[in-house]
């Protein structure tokens, strides 16, 4: 029983990060209708940028965080201005393909600037585990989870109580109606991309602090897709619940099935969940049931 709880707990903690990254995808999807495949590579760039600021340039922690946020804003703005805006009016498929192209560019930049083996952040959270009775939680996991919860909180507050958040929700509802009631839809698009990049950057740094700063983080980032689909493509709470469920199932599955099949279930389980969800409930737990059946 203790092992079960332990696996679940660790899963939930990691799931928080998946949820955070899923939120970035959902945000872009809701506002612009584009499914962002470059997402896993945003995670990568975020992790590496933070490493560059913190270790390569030797800046203090707080400055690095600020610089990371600033560069996230810049990247989001550039993507929207240079790639997504010229594609307005083209089929959505083109925009999705463009994100795939973007993924290539980001991957190339990573190989160009930070080649070679994985790196590690200096330890800014003690790796000493904390004990709650029988259960052990590493402080890294715990802090990561707390940061995720804070970001979720800020995000919900932003959507509910600020004017910009409101106009983003309006834009998500209907572009033309939003535009005719005086919202600048293009600005909203820019803000959406910026926020999405910031979220994935945060997720990236958190993932890299748990594992290591290396290109494999991309695959971790791609696990946000199962979380998104599990929770439902349109739903913000769905992303959080989806992320945590995927993390939990992954933890449990690798704990119980790894001895049977000889390891590595961790990479497989999210995708099995993905396929099952797609076949059984393609709209996810909280999504809108809009898929036409043919």
């Amino acid at each position: 029983m203790a092992t079960f709880l332990q696996m679940m707990l660790t899963g939930v903690m990691v799931g928080g990060i998946y949820g955070l990254m899923a939120l970035g995808i959902i945000l872009v999807y809701k506002a612009t209708g584009i499914f962002n495949f470059a997402h896993g590579w945003f995670v990568l760039i975020g992790g590496f940028l933070f490493w560059a600021f913190l270790v390569q340039l030797g800046l203090p922690f707080s400055v690095s965080v600020l610089l990371l946020l600033a560069s996230g804003c810049l990247l989001g703005l550039l993507i929207e201005r240079l790639i997504m805006r010229p594609l307005i009016g083209q089929p959505v498929l083109s925009a999705i393909m463009a994100t795939l192209g973007l993924a290539q560019i980001l991957a190339g930049i990573q190989t160009l600037v930070w080649p070679g083996p994985g790196r590690r952040y200096p330890e800014f959270i003690s790796s000493e585990p904390m004990r709650f009775g029988d259960l052990m939680v590493s402080q890294q996991h715990l802090w990561t989870f707390i940061i995720c919860l804070i970001v979720f909180g800020v995000f919900i507050f932003f959507f509910k109580y600020t004017l910009l958040g409101l106009s983003m929700r309006a834009t998500a509802e209907d572009h033309q109606l939003a535009q005719s009631s005086g919202i600048n839809v293009k600005t909203v698009f820019s803000v959406t991309w910026i926020i999405a990049v910031l979220m994935t950057f945060t997720g990236g740094v958190l993932l890299c602090s748990i594992y290591q700063v290396s290109p494999t983080v991309t695959e971790m980032g791609l696990k946000a897709f199962p979380a998104v689909l599990f929770g439902g493509l349109e739903s913000v709470p769905g992303s959080i619940i989806g992320g945590i469920s995927v993390g939990m199932l992954e933890g449990l599955g690798s704990g119980y099935l790894d001895p049977l099949v000889g390891g590595g279930m961790k990479e497989l389980i999210p995708y099995i969940i993905l396929l099952l969800v797609l076949v059984i409930i393609p709209y996810g737990l909280f999504g809108q049931k809009r898929i036409e059946r043919i």
Binding site: Q90, Q104, G108, T111, L112, P282, I294
Partner: protein
């Protein structure tokens, strides 16, 4: 349907013919002779580039049938290619089957795998389907890596190559093998577009609801598209295994699936000619970057040799995006315009 002056179709059959005019036939013959004689004067390296390009063309033809004609985005083509490569590799290395027997087995079993992962297309469209095929890619590669007793795991699998009359294969003869297959598969893909099957695919792409109402069994045709597409991938994978003689899971990264999609976009979706244009252009560009890489390295030694790979990736991403923004209908469309203006000259209306 612009034709050179003096060419008039007198029947529907003529309009849809693959080889339409005498000039067209002549040019194709010329191209074929050129390809046949290439090994006489080209270097080994150039031949190997062409061979790989041929194999990729076959795989991308398959993706074009699925994505370009039927409108189902797939990120699983590289995974399917891996299935083809490993089935043919395992049959060859573990059971001693010769290439000509393992190739059809590989093609068929890849087709069946494609069918299985095509099942979600019953209810899914657009990027939902892209996600399902993404899952397919990861699941296929996971199985390959975790079944080392068959596949050799991460260390890879050494495959006995094709032998004809007891003679081993050289770069040159492998080139001919690949050339024969790419010609045959291209003909098949081109021919498919003008059959009932191909027209049904296009109808499903344009509007699946309307296609259903017109009496097309959408689900059956979608699955057929998945099957045919995976068969192409299987043939390509089998040729790949035979060509390289060693396959490892690392030869089939997800990025290549994205490259394949990019090739269709650059060439023009739903066009056999466009597929070839796309592969040749992007493959050619990456070769240019690889050739330029050492030069860059000598200019700025600090950057080193990895620059080539990284530059190729960045360049490729930029090309995809630029094409999407400025030439969304692809090279095949531009080629058509070019031919038309050439024909109409000097009266360009």
């Amino acid at each position: 349907m612009w034709r050179p002056g003096g060419t008039f179709d007198t029947s529907y059959r003529e309009t849809l013919a693959i080889f339409r005019t005498r000039f067209h036939k002549f040019m194709l013959l010329l191209l074929f002779i050129l390809l046949l004689t290439t090994p006489l004067y080209a270097s080994q390296y150039f031949l190997s580039v062409l061979s790989v390009a041929f194999i990729i063309i076959i795989a991308v033809h398959g993706l074009n049938i699925l994505t370009g004609y039927t409108g189902q985005i797939s990120l699983g083509q590289v995974g399917f290619m891996a299935v083809g490569a490993y089935v043919s590799g395992i049959l060859g290395a573990r059971f001693g089957l010769p290439f000509w027997a393992s190739l059809p087995c590989a093609a068929f079993s890849t087709g069946v795998v494609g069918l299985i992962f095509g099942l979600p297309s019953l209810r899914l469209k657009g990027f939902y389907l892209a996600m399902a095929t993404l899952a397919a890619h990861f699941i296929i590669l996971w199985i390959i890596i975790h079944a080392p007793e068959f596949s050799g795991g991460v260390d890879g699998l050494i495959i006995p190559r094709l032998q004809i009359a007891g003679l081993g294969m050289t770069e040159r003869s492998l080139y001919y093998v690949n050339l024969i297959f790419v010609a045959g598969m291209t003909y098949f893909a081109r021919n498919l577009a003008r059959t009932r099957l191909g027209r049904s695919f296009v109808a499903i792409r344009d509007n699946d609801l309307a296609a259903e109402v017109m009496g097309i069994d959408v689900f059956r045709y979608k699955l057929t598209a998945f099957f045919i597409s995976a068969v192409f991938a299987g043939v390509a994978g089998s040729l790949w295994a035979n060509y390289l003689g060693l396959i490892t899971p690392e030869q089939f990264p997800l990025m290549d699936a994205i490259w394949f999609l990019g090739m269709i976009i650059v060439g023009g979706m739903g066009s056999v000619l466009g597929t070839i244009f796309g592969v040749v252009l992007l493959k050619g560009l990456s070769e240019v970057v690889i050739l330029l890489g050492p030069m860059l390295g000598s200019i700025a030694p600090a950057l080193g040799g990895r620059v080539a790979a990284a530059m190729a990736q960045i360049f490729f991403g930029v090309v995809i995006i630029v094409f999407l923004i400025f030439e969304p209908r692809g090279l095949a469309h531009r080629w058509g315009l070019l031919k038309t203006s050439f024909r109409m000259w000097p009266f360009s209306y």
